[in-house]
């Protein structure tokens, strides 16, 4: 949709996760995760709900505090107790399932508030950056609207533009299309596809197998708090080796089939 605006992302931060553990009380959600995302790589996390993939994603920018293990993001060891969390988060954009746009600010302000308050950019400079990113997601004409005047798909694209306006080196997507009406999913996926083509490092939790297969450099299948299988998208989604992966994909790709299989 906005192919003309593709610009290579110059700075790209990778992620390196070792032995990551996270528990809520006695419930261990992540049981020792090792995962590497190379700069410029697009990695999709798939798996059944409750498998820990969202928690893993939220540990990367410390929205969840891991119990053990180390995470390196760009030049930061985010699990280091002395790390400047806010400095690290500037480099890491995040897109949420529920968009989480700021409802009291218009679309442009949504994209400029952190630029001016955190990066100390001047308002005109921030406006220009925001406008550029809104055009990149195909919404340059809606900059004076408020979030509640937009469709879900438009809100999610604004959320992407908001994250991009901080010039992140890594983008985290937490089920970005799960809360959307089916007809608006395509627009959001198209924006993400363009972002991937532009060389952005992306870690994406998703149920969109088509997207994973087409865009991801690698797909990681998680279940029960561990990585069960990982590899090139064509391999993991197209020809999974592990029984649990096969079972999951069968349920996702052919949901009516399992009704007959179960019981």
């Amino acid at each position: 949709m906005t192919n003309s605006s593709i610009t290579p992302t110059v700075h790209a931060a990778g992620v390196s996760i070792q032995g990551l553990r996270k528990s809520y009380g006695s419930n261990e959600v992540l049981k020792g995760i090792d995962l590497v995302v190379k700069p410029g790589e697009v990695v999709c996390l798939i798996g059944p709900s409750g498998s820990g993939k969202s928690t893993l994603l939220r540990c990367v920018n410390l929205l969840e505090q891991p119990n053990a293990g180390t995470i390196h993001v760009g030049g930061f060891e985010s699990t280091d107790p002395d790390v400047d969390i806010d400095l690290m988060r500037r480099k890491v954009g995040m897109v949420f399932q529920q968009f989480n746009l700021f409802p009291h600010l218009d679309v442009l302000r949504n994209c400029t508030v952190a630029q001016t308050k955190v990066l100390k950019r001047s308002q005109p400079e921030a406006d220009a950056v925001a406008q550029r990113n809104l055009e990149r997601v195909g919404l340059g004409h809606l900059s004076d609207r408020f979030p509640d005047q937009l469709s879900g798909g438009q809100q999610q694209r604004v959320a992407i533009a908001r994250a991009l306006s901080m010039d992140p080196e890594l983008m985290l997507f937490d089920e970005p299309t799960s809360a959307l009406d089916p007809e608006t999913v395509g627009d959001v996926l198209a924006v993400m596809r363009n972002l991937a083509k532009a060389g952005m490092t992306m870690l994406v939790v998703t149920h969109e197998m088509g997207f994973a297969r087409e865009v991801a450099d690698r797909v990681v299948f998680m279940d029960g708090g561990v990585v069960v299988e990982e590899g090139p998208a064509a391999k993991v989604v197209g020809a999974p080796q592990e029984a649990r992966t096969q079972e999951f994909l069968r349920r996702v790709l052919d949901p009516t089939h399992i009704d007959i299989v179960e019981d």
Binding site: L63, D86, N100, A114, K117
Partner: protein, 263 residues
């Protein structure tokens, strides 16, 4: 013979209207109108209230109300943040404050600030400061609970989105969460101003100079004039309504607006 449901409804409604008309007519016939108008609506007495009731009393009521509301909102916000603090002692202090000032009559607080504290510590506040402190500290207790509810009503995702953009916690509170909380509590906050407007009448306890009279004191002073009857109190009452009714309308407008923007 039996009436349909619709007929029965119509008959019962006719009876209700009829009763109302009879009561009104009876009241109009039985009332001693000359006496009533002499006691409550003596036009000469009305005229004698002006312009003092506006340029002194109404003005002072507004000043007392606005000053104490400013103290109430800032104190209330501080207490609300303390109540939500992870630091235990802050929460306890806020709880003790709120329970105390909500539990004692505002009149006692006025006496304490007007006479108790000046006597005990040998300091004298001017009237405006006394009202501001006494009324403001009581209002703070009520507003704190309102604001706490408002802060908690802001979805958690708002804080997460702000933090993920690199905002420190305090910045996210100031820029993202608190403005939304105020928006949510605008209707109850407007009610709080209405209550304050009326409670400002307690200032009479302090012993006022004529230039410091507010509406109630001005009206009470007015009825000591010969032949004034109770008319000055009626005028004062009308002046309160001039303040409170527009506020009520404003509150309802906020309410319907926030209902509309709620998804």
């Amino acid at each position: 013979m039996a009436m349909t449901v619709r007929q029965r409804t119509r008959v019962s409604r006719t009876i209700q209207y009829g009763l109302l008309v009879v009561v009104v007519i009876l009241a109009a016939l039985l009332a001693d109108w000359p006496k009533i108008s002499k006691a409550f609506f003596n036009l000469d007495a009305v005229a004698s209230q002006f312009p003092g009731i506006i340029v002194i009393a109404l003005k002072n009521t507004l000043i007392y109300t606005v000053l104490s509301f400013l103290v109430g909102v800032s104190g209330g916000l501080l207490l609300a943040l303390m109540k939500l603090s992870p630091v235990g002692p802050y929460r306890w202090l806020a709880t003790i404050y709120i329970e105390f000032f909500r539990g004692v009559p505002a009149l006692l607080v006025f006496v304490a600030f007007g006479f108790g504290i000046p006597t005990a510590f040998g300091i004298r506040f001017n009237v405006f400061v006394t009202v501001m402190l006494a009324l403001g500290m009581v209002a703070a207790a009520y507003i704190a609970e309102t604001l706490r509810a408002g802060l908690q009503a802001v979805p958690k995702g708002q804080m997460e989105a702000a933090r993920s953009l690199g905002m420190p916690h305090w910045r996210a509170m100031v820029t993202i969460v608190i403005p939304q909380a105020f928006r949510i509590v605008l209707p109850p906050l407007t009610n709080e101003i209405i209550l304050l407007t009326k409670d400002s009448s307690l200032v009479y306890l302090l012993g006022l100079a004529a230039s410091q009279y507010e509406l109630t004191k001005f009206g009470r002073d007015g009825i000591t004039q010969p032949n004034a009857g109770l008319t000055p109190l009626v005028v004062a009452g009308a002046c309160y309504l001039v303040i409170t009714i527009p506020l009520g309308i404003l509150a309802r407008r906020f309410e319907s607006r926030s209902a509309r923007t709620k998804r």
